[in-house]
Symmetry: C2
Subunit: 244 residues, 2 copies
């Protein structure tokens, strides 16, 4: 049987989604607990990695099991074993040709900022700080410029080593609420650090440290230096993964 | 010179606002840093205590100093010395007859819930969980019943030892947003654990574990047992203190 699970996690205490040597990953913990419950070696396949410190509201992952356990009992049983910063929120049966990574059509990420000269002790763990003033309208123009199919080479970490850096961003939404800004990005795939680099580029635009021309140049030349700074992981949330 | 400061803090790592033996308080840290900066023994007077783990968006406190330092330099200078979970957000000059506690006319508290069968790793540090279903309308009726001048003896911790338990609640607002509930309470003063007990009583109402008749009885008899359970500190925020 192949199952797809929906997972929420607080990334603060983890090295990220994916298994790594000498570091605690969310995948590893889930595999351990599922293997213990189902009494067989379970390998899970996520919809993709999230960096160290990044949170997920709805990460998706699939696994196969021969266990005859009733499906709806799995989340509750595993949740009682999991640390409180990881929870399985849902489970559904899938066909053998479904794959959490390869069947994913789109992903939605959310990035949270607060705009304040003084850092905010209550929000510091889950938001990035932006020093005012910030031009919100130019940030929206930058978002519109990045929307569509582009080579996002300038918007990914050099460490990624990936060849094809063309991706489609279907939607970039920026919303202002009191002293907070929410950036939501929906795309067909994201490069290493791409959302955190876009978050940084849009803030640099809003602060006048980058111009719309710089963003255009970054897209055209693929020059990482034209796209500003990578923003912190703690303000980034994998909000959803969309399948057909 | 008497100064009033506005402080934001994340209560997670502290024993509360007020100085205590063998425990780290926010007041103590602020007094240490202000004393160091102003080169004299500074004693600060808060608008009131907050319990261990309770947060403040806008706590208020005053202190006297003979230092000739320019007022507007104090927040920045102290903030660079403070741990990142405490920040001075503002400062203003006050007359000698002003007192952060005795001059306070009203206080506003915010309590945050999320309604979900499964606990939420991302919100767990800052919200209280409520298991669905919950009757939001009866919670609002309970809030209306508690509004006004009442003897809140049933809504304070027995440990308080205070004599006069009559207080006026000017406003109780309950707002539902997606799967979250926000409870805002404005009153002329609050007893020990009062907001956390009201939060618990309203949830017990919504869950059918208490009736409106129980709330009425709790107000009339002062019987703590009629008012449900004290809800956790981590979901409580001192939002503002109002002076004339």
């Amino acid at each position: 049987m192949r199952y797809l699970i929906t997972i929420e996690y607080n990334g603060k205490n983890y090295s990220g989604w994916q298994n790594q040597k000498n570091a605690l990953s969310i995948q590893q913990i889930l595999e351990e607990k599922l293997s213990f419950l189902l009494k067989e070696d379970i390998k899970i396949y996520g919809s993709g990695r999230t960096d160290s410190g990044v949170h997920a509201v709805n990460q998706k992952a699939h696994f196969d099991t021969n266990s005859g356990i009733q499906m709806h009992k799995i989340p509750l049983a595993v949740n009682t074993m999991l640390p409180k910063d990881i929870r399985i929120k849902g489970i559904e049966k899938k066909d053998k040709d479904f794959h959490a990574l390869y069947s994913a059509k789109r992903k939605i990420y959310l990035y949270k900022f607060y705009v304040s000269r003084i850092s905010s002790p209550i929000r510091d763990d889950y938001y990035a700080q932006v020093i005012p003033p910030i031009d919100f309208e130019i940030m929206k123009k930058g978002g519109a410029m990045l929307t569509g199919e582009h080579d996002f080479k300038a918007f990914c970490s050099a460490r990624s080593g990936i060849k094809n850096t063309v991706r489609t961003i279907h939607r970039i939404e920026l919303e202002q609420k009191n002293d907070e800004i929410f950036l939501e990005i929906e795309g067909n795939g994201f490069l290493y650090n791409m959302v955190r680099i876009i978050a940084g580029a849009l803030v640099f635009l809003g602060k006048g440290k980058l111009s719309l021309e710089d963003i255009k140049q970054a897209l055209e030349t693929g020059d990482r230096k034209k796209a500003g700074k990578t923003f912190p992981a703690r303000a980034l949330y994998l909000k959803d993964v969309i399948y057909d």
